[in-house]
């Protein structure tokens, strides 16, 4: 399989007055096509910065260096107008807090329609309806007609996250970036969403970049995992190898902490 995304010597600093905070330090790695690629690290490790850089959503005080190749084209230096064509359509994204990904005063169906009209140019109402219902069913929502008429506050966190995934997939992206998509959900809902991701990768042939601090999820879901610590890439491994024989001292400590918590006493 060929590489779909390559980060090359990516460095990001955040300016804060006269100081500059190093968020990513010379990070280089590639994600292969149709891979579920995990990125783990603590808060402040730079995992979300990496996602924002990829999506061209870095805040104004960020200073970047290096390149990000998407299908062999450097997208890191693209102007916002060009990035808008790629974001959503090529690179889909799912955020941590599903409730804040929606407009609270518009129905789920209204927001879905807007998306299909503006991003996919689907002008025919009947066709739009068919697309909406099929994607909502695809992400495991049992009553898509009711969901379309609902407002965000009427749905549970798990249902909203499924809707967010349906929105993202309906634009047929090549890569789906999920930034801690299950951190605000129950464990039972979390395991359902995790299963959904594996299913969707096979069904839609989409590459998934899965950002999390939960090593459990990485173990069951990902093909390869990158460990970030204070902006540095420490190690890339398959999860089984990472758990069995972590090479980097930080990864060793992380795995050790994790096993202390999960084994009893």
């Amino acid at each position: 399989m060929s590489d779909i995304i390559t980060f090359k010597n990516l460095g990001i600093r955040y300016r804060d007055g006269h100081k500059a905070l190093l968020a990513l330090d010379n990070v280089t790695f590639s994600v292969k096509e149709k891979e579920i690629f995990g990125i783990v690290g603590e808060s402040g490790s730079g995992k979300s910065t990496l996602a924002f850089a990829l999506l061209g959503l870095l805040p104004e005080n960020a200073v970047g260096a290096g390149q990000i190749f998407f299908e062999e084209k450097d997208i890191f230096s693209l102007p916002e107008s060009r990035m808008r064509e790629i974001r959503g359509r090529q690179l889909g994204v799912i955020f941590q807090e599903p409730a804040s990904s929606f407009n609270p005063v518009l129905s789920i169906g209204y927001q879905f329609r807007e998306l299909l009209i503006h991003k996919m140019q689907v002008q025919d109402a009947a066709q739009r309806r068919e697309i909406m219902l099929s994607y909502l069913k695809e992400v495991g929502l049992k009553d898509p007609l009711r969901i379309l008429d609902s407002y965000p506050h009427q749905l549970s966190g798990g249902q909203l996250q499924r809707v967010a995934i349906a929105y993202a997939l309906s634009l047929k992206p090549k890569v789906l970036i999920a930034d801690e998509p299950t951190s605000s959900l129950d464990v039972t809902v979390e395991s359902q969403i995790i299963n959904l991701f594996s299913y969707l990768r096979d069904k839609f042939n989409v590459t998934i970049i899965f950002i999390t601090h939960n090593l459990d999820l990485v173990g069951v879901l990902c093909d390869r995992v990158a460990v970030l610590y204070k902006g540095q890439l420490r190690e890339i491994q398959e999860p089984a190898a990472l758990f069995a024989a972590p090479k980097d001292p930080y990864t060793q400590e992380l795995i050790h902490t994790f096993s202390q918590l999960t084994q009893n006493e």
Binding site: E42, D186, V187, T188, S191, N214, G219, T257, F258, L261
Partner: protein, 303 residues
């Protein structure tokens, strides 16, 4: 086990869009001295309602709460606050953003004690040392601290008047795994040193296993199973407990349906092994002296 807190047949109903939501439906629970009792269940099952009712923030429609044998159901908040404290999930919204750490702790201290800010200092220095913070943080504001540091401040605040029980409502859900381990280890150490009891509310069964001596499982306003940590994890008998365990250990879980039954066994819509008996409300079945379950099929053997 000697009982510190006993909850008896507590009922708390809310009306929501003309429906009655039974957040606590005759909930009974016991918390022993000096141990950690966990309360687990998904969001919306009533865990936090129970905590708030114990703390006196809600008045129950029916039932009672006993602290060391004394009925405290109708006691004033002031009395309850002296004996029972709480640490919330998100430390950043549990303290006043415009108060320094010193002001936050001093305010909590003066609820029950008349001391000047100067006189309080040695006591507050000690308190911070107990949660492994140095006095340097005294003059910082909440936004200048990390989540782990601020949660330590919240733990220190809860300890200030030496309560008998601290309710920990998902105290580490907003924190990293490494910080989580540090905070939980700190809480265990404080329990050993001070003999304080914890009610640990969580939906993460791995953390529950690490922290607790006893576990109570709640499903939509009902306790469905309780037992010692060892019994519950090694021999879970309620299908809901097994669903939670499967999810925590990343085993594929079934869900038959998400609809909620309002009579009989409330879990039966989601249960894969339901039968005719489940239309009637199950009663407590004893598995051992420290393990009870509310399921008609508890006598059946599971694979």
């Amino acid at each position: 086990m000697s009982k510190l807190l006993e909850v008896k047949n507590l009922k708390k109903y809310f009306s929501h869009h003309h429906c009655l939501v039974k957040a606590l439906d005759e909930v009974s629970l016991e918390i022993p001295h000096g141990k950690t009792t966990a309360l687990v269940g998904e969001s919306g099952c009533g865990k936090t309602t129970l905590a708030k009712t114990i703390l006196g923030f809600y008045r129950a429609q029916d039932g009672s709460v006993f602290l060391e044998g004394k009925n405290i159901t109708a006691c004033r908040r002031r009395f309850l606050a002296r004996n029972i404290q709480i640490v919330f999930q998100n430390p950043y919204v549990s303290v006043d953003p415009r108060y320094t750490v010193y002001a936050t702790l001093y305010e909590a201290l003066t609820v029950f004690k008349k001391v000047s800010s100067q006189e309080a200092k040695p006591e507050l220095v000690n308190l911070l040392a107990q949660v492994d913070l140095s006095p340097e943080v005294f003059h910082r504001y909440p936004h200048q601290l990390s989540g782990g540091q601020l949660q330590r401040v919240c733990i220190a605040r809860s300890l200030i008047n030496r309560p008998k029980l601290i309710i920990l409502d998902e105290p580490t859900s907003a924190l990293d795994i490494t910080t989580t381990l540090k905070i939980l280890t700190l809480l265990k150490r404080l329990q050993k040193e001070l003999g304080v009891s914890y009610l640990f509310i969580s939906h993460n069964l791995k953390l529950v296993r690490f922290m607790s001596d006893y576990v109570w499982v709640m499903y939509y306003g009902k306790i469905v199973e309780w037992g010692s940590q060892k019994e519950l994890f090694e021999n879970p008998r309620h299908p809901y407990t097994r669903v939670l365990l499967d999810a925590a250990y990343q085993r594929l879980t079934e869900t038959a349906s998400e609809t909620l039954e309002t009579d009989g066994c409330r879990f039966r819509a989601r249960c894969t092994s339901r039968d005719k008996r489940c239309q009637a409300e199950p009663d407590w079945q004893e598995i051992s002296s420290e393990h009870f379950v509310r399921c008609h099929r508890s006598g059946d053997t599971y694979v």
